[in-house]
């Protein structure tokens, strides 16, 4: 097992006007589960393929442990692309299916047997080692296939959207299982997805990319509570964070008839008269009392049992702005009504209106 380092790694496609991956600097610790996430075309799969050796690195380096693998062919990098090409052979036993690639690689018989046994123990397949795949359940077959990758004892597992072809229910179930197995094995893993929920639920840390540029890397909590810019703020979390342009007022930010207090230091950082404010749907107080915050027309309330989500729109400086707030499932406003929204104190994310960069500290946990 090993760490992975992207050191200013850059990928330019021939004829491209901008880099597909632009000076990526990222360290994945030994044994860590790192998720690369971002919208389509952000460079996440390209980054993974650079690590796998499938894409040329035009500038910078990639290291696995202390070893510079930038110019090393894929098969010599000691990595395994999991969930790919995992045919099971009907006439070979489970042990043979798991160990045949080691035979091709010239690993001796004793070593093969001990690695297969070790992997079988990890995967609870010990008692099936002499059986043929036909005698196994679908789930057991998948574990045999996984065993093929494990016996190679790679330094790093790479997974490129392995759940993208499953339906929603299976996706939810499978993602926790992959994450659990990875923790049991303790193998450094780089996982690519476009789905921020998958990223939040699976990764030790998450790296968010956009347009080939790393936006932020941190734990799921870091990204949720202290997004470094407007893009990460809007990308991480579902429903997405409310982002709106608000006027600065004396001592705070204008929210309808009220001012939400914000540290003077923060306001002092900008010469603009406005800021971009981010508020998560769960950090909003809803009131029916006129003047108690931003006036919002309710368009729809989505009932989820204990909770619900209120979707509405407000008029801010003549511009229609859509908003979402989490509301109590039993007592909430209805479509067509008028409500007043105000962020709960100290749960406001403030971003520079020009650069989109974060201006305040993390929102507090209380």
């Amino acid at each position: 097992m090993s760490s992975v380092t992207f050191d200013n790694a850059t990928r330019m496609y021939p004829g491209g006007t901008r880099a597909a991956v632009d000076q990526l600097n990222l360290e994945v610790a030994d044994g860590e589960f790192l998720v690369l996430v971002g919208p389509s075309g952000c460079g996440k799969s390209t980054s993974l393929r650079m690590l796998a050796g499938l894409e040329e690195v035009n500038d910078g380096r990639i290291l696995i442990g202390d070893r510079d693998v930038t110019d090393v062919p894929p098969k010599d990098r000691d990595i395994a692309m999991v969930f790919q090409n995992y045919a099971l052979y009907p006439h070979m036993t489970v042990a043979e299916n798991m160990g045949f690639a080691l035979k091709i690689a010239g690993v001796n018989k004793d070593e093969r047997a001990s690695r297969v046994l070790e992997a079988a123990k990890l995967l609870d397949l010990e008692e099936y080692l002499t059986r043929k795949p036909k005698a196994l359940s679908g789930g057991q077959r998948q574990r045999v296939a996984m065993g093929r990758a494990i016996v190679r004892q790679p330094q790093v597992f790479l997974m490129d959207e392995p759940l993208s072809n499953l339906d929603a229910k299976l996706r939810v179930q499978t993602r926790t299982q992959i994450a659990s197995l990875q923790r049991r094995l303790g193998v450094t893993t780089v996982y690519v997805t476009h789905d921020q929920t998958e990223a939040l639920t699976m990764g030790d840390r998450i790296a968010v990319l956009k347009d080939g540029i790393l936006q932020q890397v941190g734990t799921p909590r870091d990204l949720y509570e202290k997004p470094q810019n407007v893009f990460v703020a809007g990308f991480i979390g579902s429903p997405a964070m409310n982002l709106l342009t608000a006027d600065l007022a004396d001592g705070g930010i204008q929210f309808g008839a009220r001012v939400v207090p914000v540290d003077r230091d923060i306001i002092g950082q900008t010469s603009a008269k406005q800021v971009t404010v981010g508020v998560r749907p769960e950090d909003i107080e809803v009131s029916t009392e006129p003047g108690n915050g931003l006036e919002v027309h309710v368009d729809l309330v989505e009932e989820l049992g204990a909770d619900g989500y209120l979707y509405g729109h407000a008029d801010i400086n003549g511009k229609r702005t859509d908003l979402v707030a989490r509301v109590d499932g039993r007592t909430h406003a209805h479509a067509g009504e008028k409500v007043f929204l105000i962020p709960t104190p100290r749960h406001v994310h403030v971003f520079d209106v020009e650069s989109g960069l974060r201006m305040n500290a993390a929102v507090s946990a209380d």
Partner: protein, 428 residues
């Protein structure tokens, strides 16, 4: 049948609607299923009869079925040898309205065979070697087109007999991706490594089932694809430089590529500042050198090696019977009506499904050569033909759509739920 069944196809065959789409593929009745040797597949694949053709039906997700359908169509447009995509069917549901997986329907190529059908008892090393060589040619062609396969294997390939060799066709494009700017060396190397491991696995599986000749070494054979691919790749794309006094080497390179079955569409030629050295590199190469010449001269569509064989016969016919002022086209026409067509017409109707016409002609030429060797005389074609039909062709199985004992397919679902309470570890 579900009212919302949705069929996407370039040309709709109404018979498609008659297949039992409301049944899971594994429960399809025997009368719709064609018995073909199955390979090893991640998804359940079965073969069905449709309007006189055999189609392969694969259950998968709607997204993957559509993706693969589009990919196969694109590859076809690029003249890549691959199976024919027929339709994508989504919105299937069973009698009680529960959804069934989407399917991709592809047309089984006539006279094409899965590798498991290419031997009756045991696979011999020379046959395996020819399969690996054919796969190497297909892989090089795919890579030149910018296609990264991702799952190169004998199971994902169909083979057609091609005058003593095989021609390989891509069957499974599920994991493949086209890169407009071409492939990196890393991508090509990765495909080669996947091929090496998969071929070794497939041969070891046959070995475990007692289906290979003792002399066959799976690891040595699977290493063979690397060597075959590399030498072909170097010939197809490598640059070479030589003194400008050796310009005949340009023609020699073109000739070597022709011999390998490729035409050069574009050749980059550069001279250095002093003009004393020349560097050449093929930029665009096109497979099918002999196929195109045969098609142009005779209108016959054959495999590359078959075409080479037929052209050799045509050329020697020309050398023997050429009259003054007779051009190549006229000679070819004469050969076609005097030699090739009479042979094919004399094949009894009940034996027509044994082999393709061009393959029959190739085998006949081989047979005549052996007869002539044995009898130390020039055996006339007509005499060889009678002997070939009665002693050889009649005893072959029909290969138009091979029916052989199916080998078990082990399917590996991407994810399954055996029961709601199962152990989580059952699902990784």
């Amino acid at each position: 049948m579900s009212a919302s069944l949705n069929i996407t196809a370039a040309t709709v065959d109404p018979a498609l609607l008659d297949l039992p789409w409301d049944l899971p593929l594994e429960n399809w009745p025997n009368e719709t299923i064609a018995s073909l040797p199955k390979g090893i597949s991640r998804h359940l694949v079965r073969f069905a009869n449709l309007s006189g053709y055999v189609v392969a039906v694969k259950e998968t997700t709607a997204e993957m079925a559509r993706g693969e359908y589009d990919m196969l169509r694109t590859l076809q447009r690029m003249d890549i040898p691959c199976v024919d995509p027929v339709a994508v069917i989504t919105g299937r549901s069973d009698e009680s309205g529960d959804p069934l997986p989407s399917v991709l329907v592809t047309r089984h190529l006539k006279f094409s065979l899965p590798y498991r059908a290419l031997f009756s008892q045991q696979l011999r090393p020379d046959t395996a070697g020819r399969l690996v060589d054919a796969l190497a040619v297909l892989l090089a062609r795919l890579h030149i087109a910018g296609f990264f396969w991702g799952d190169v294997s004998l199971s994902n390939t169909l083979f057609r007999r091609d005058a003593g060799a095989f021609a390989a066709y891509l069957v499974d494009a599920e994991t493949g991706k086209l890169y407009g700017g071409g492939l990196s060396n890393g991508q090509r190397e990765n495909d080669l490594e996947i091929a090496r491991v998969n071929i070794a696995g497939e041969l070891m599986d046959l070995e475990a089932g007692g289906r290979v000749d003792d002399a066959l070494d799976p690891i040595k054979l699977s290493d063979g694809i690397v060597a075959a691919y590399r030498s072909l790749w170097t010939e197809l794309t490598g640059s070479e430089s030589f003194s400008s006094s050796e310009r005949w080497r340009i023609n020699e390179r073109v000739h070597r590529l022709n011999e390998l079955g490729f035409d050069i569409e574009e050749l980059a030629i550069k001279t250095d500042e002093t003009g004393s050295r020349v560097r050449i590199q093929p930029k665009v190469v096109d497979a099918g050198h002999h196929q195109r010449r045969l098609l142009r001269l005779t209108g016959l569509d054959a495999g590359e090696n078959q075409a080479r064989r037929l052209l050799n016969d045509l050329d020697s016919y020309g050398a023997t019977f050429a009259k003054a002022n007779m051009d190549e086209e006229m000679m070819a026409h004469e050969w076609l009506i005097r030699v090739f067509e009479p042979v094919i017409k004399s094949i009894p109707r009940d034996l027509k499904g044994k082999l393709e016409p061009a393959e029959v002609f190739h085998q006949l030429l081989e047979h005549r050569w052996f007869m002539s060797q044995n009898q130390a005389r020039d055996v006339p074609l007509a005499e060889a033909l009678t002997s070939y039909i009665n002693d050889i062709l009649r005893h072959r199985r029909d290969e138009a759509t091979v029916i052989a004992p199916p080998t078990g397919a082990i399917t590996l679902p991407t994810a399954v739920i055996d029961s709601p309470n199962e152990n989580w570890r059952d699902r990784v």
